[in-house]
Symmetry: C2
């Protein structure tokens, strides 16, 4: 019996994944993750993911398809606006392409919204009416579920907590503004800050230096986290700034929207209890005292968007 198969697809910047299960099931019948090609463009990404999906479906036809895309999406139109990582994604009608390929209705949204939707249905947001979901890794993205619906904003651009300004006198971000959350808290900026400090402060950060075999230019945010966990104070200071900025950004978002819960995923949030305690304290100090809220780790981890895609697919059938 496969009359109600759901196909979930996740187009990421560096890896893609796909999963198949029957409507209402919560265990994959088939599920696989693949790395994106080194010189991938939109065409090769599409070909990779569709080939993977066909293999997982093994000749069966899905009843509905949900798609998460790692970049700006016009969810109403079902089209990708562009990718910041992979060329060729400008104005691609992904919903239509996928629907035609498999002969089933499809829904498409960006990975932060779909991740929020996944946590809302199956993860740390189950049973709540509102949540803010954030991913903190190469970038800092956010998605809202409010009143049981994804809140996309007037132009599908809501959720840009990565570019909330937490220090107007802070350093310049990639986006051109000063002091954005992302400028302090994304993995690449954490690594860059640690590298700069190691250059400037030659006696500090011995553990971090050892971890990188003295090759400061190779230092990553993961190394900074690992060194901080081992007691390297320079590494901890570099991480502390990220926790501080995330906490201020979250506290301000809570002041504005009063969500029931804030859910954090992404590699940077795996930086240990000390990181979480600074983040939680700053959010608490930034939000008004009468605001009650919890900040919790994503329950679905990196699979939140794929599970959100399942919920999108199931919604296609009830819409």
């Amino acid at each position: 019996m496969n009359s109600e198969l759901m196909l979930a697809l996740d187009f990421g910047g560096t890896k893609h994944s796909a999963g198949v299960l029957a409507r209402g099931e919560r265990v994959w019948r088939a599920h696989q993750r693949v790395a994106a090609g080194a010189n991938a463009d939109a065409q090769s990404d599409l070909s990779t993911v569709l080939t993977l999906a066909r293999a997982l479906l093994d000749g069966a036809q899905p009843k509905a398809i949900g798609v998460s895309f790692g970049g700006p999406v016009d969810a109403r139109a079902g089209s990708v606006r562009l990718s910041h990582h992979v060329r060729g994604w400008e104005n691609i009608p992904l919903r239509e392409l996928v629907a035609r390929e498999f002969g089933a209705p499809a829904a498409v949204d960006n990975d932060a919204n779909v991740g929020a939707w996944g946590e809302y249905h199956f993860g740390a947001g189950k049973g709540l009416d509102s949540l803010l979901y954030m991913t903190v890794s190469t970038g800092v993205g956010g998605g809202w579920v409010l009143g049981g619906k994804i809140w996309r904003g007037a132009d599908n651009l809501a959720g840009e907590i990565g570019h909330v300004v937490v220090d107007p006198h802070g350093p310049v971000c990639l986006c051109g503004k000063r002091g954005c959350v992302e400028r302090f808290a994304s993995g690449p900026y954490i690594a860059r800050r640690a590298r700069e400090w190691l250059q400037e402060q030659p006696t500090r950060g011995p553990l971090l230096r050892t971890m990188a075999n003295q090759q400061i230019e190779h230092i990553t945010a993961q190394m900074v986290s690992a060194a901080a966990a081992e007691g390297d104070e320079l590494a901890w200071d570099a991480l502390h700034v990220a926790a501080w900025a995330l906490g201020v950004g979250i506290g301000n978002a809570v002041n504005l929207m009063n969500p029931a819960r804030v859910i954090l995923g992404g590699g940077v949030t795996k930086s240990g209890e000390r990181f979480w305690s600074v983040l939680r304290r700053m959010a608490r100090e930034t939000a008004l005292p009468q605001l009650q809220f919890e900040i919790v780790p994503a329950a679905l981890g990196d699979d939140a968007p794929l599970w959100g895609a399942v919920a999108l697919a199931e919604a296609c059938l009830t819409a």
Copy 2:
């Protein structure tokens, strides 16, 4: 014919108002504003407003009642939590009191939400799907309409844009945090900043000094606005800080929620084109470039909450 009379009530900190019209009408049949008593408490406020309402109704019975209250409200329960200005309002079941008094269904919400609702139905937000409404006067409050509904948050506390932190190194606000929008932009803080600068800089602000008859301690935000409009540079500097903070707060709110429009009311926003241009420029610089939004003055002015109460009343009949 008065079979479909709507009663709208607005409990403010310093003044109250009430209005009566028939369902669907957009011109008051009767409307009046009264000052709150000097030693008002909840009991006297209630008595004042109910007496006014009975006079306006002139023996007729309303079909539904909408109520705006200037303080935290539990809209779902229909009860006032407290007033920051008037004693005795702790946990008052205002919806029930009013409904019983007039024998009609009632709805109650705080003035920022009801103001947003008024602008959405009858003012600068007509025809939009989402908006942020702000009042900037004694305090700085905000209300959201998202997807055609008031967004109240998990605990009726959404919209606290006055306590969004725009400068973590800024001065301490009444709420205990540093660098809140309200700490820079509310009328009392604008006046206080101007007074402090006049004390510290004895050669500056001649116009403002003259306006206050050299009695610096009597300076109000209105005087600061008026002096700035006449070219007093100290007054303008004091006002500029308010416009800056509002712009940063609004830009961050736009990054998070992508509303179609931001609508500003309250006395401080009547500070002229130069004030508005700084505010708009800072919001533009704080929001991501791809975000499109307008910041416009409230179309209903101080009556936004009373008109919102009309919309609340009408919704009682269709709910």
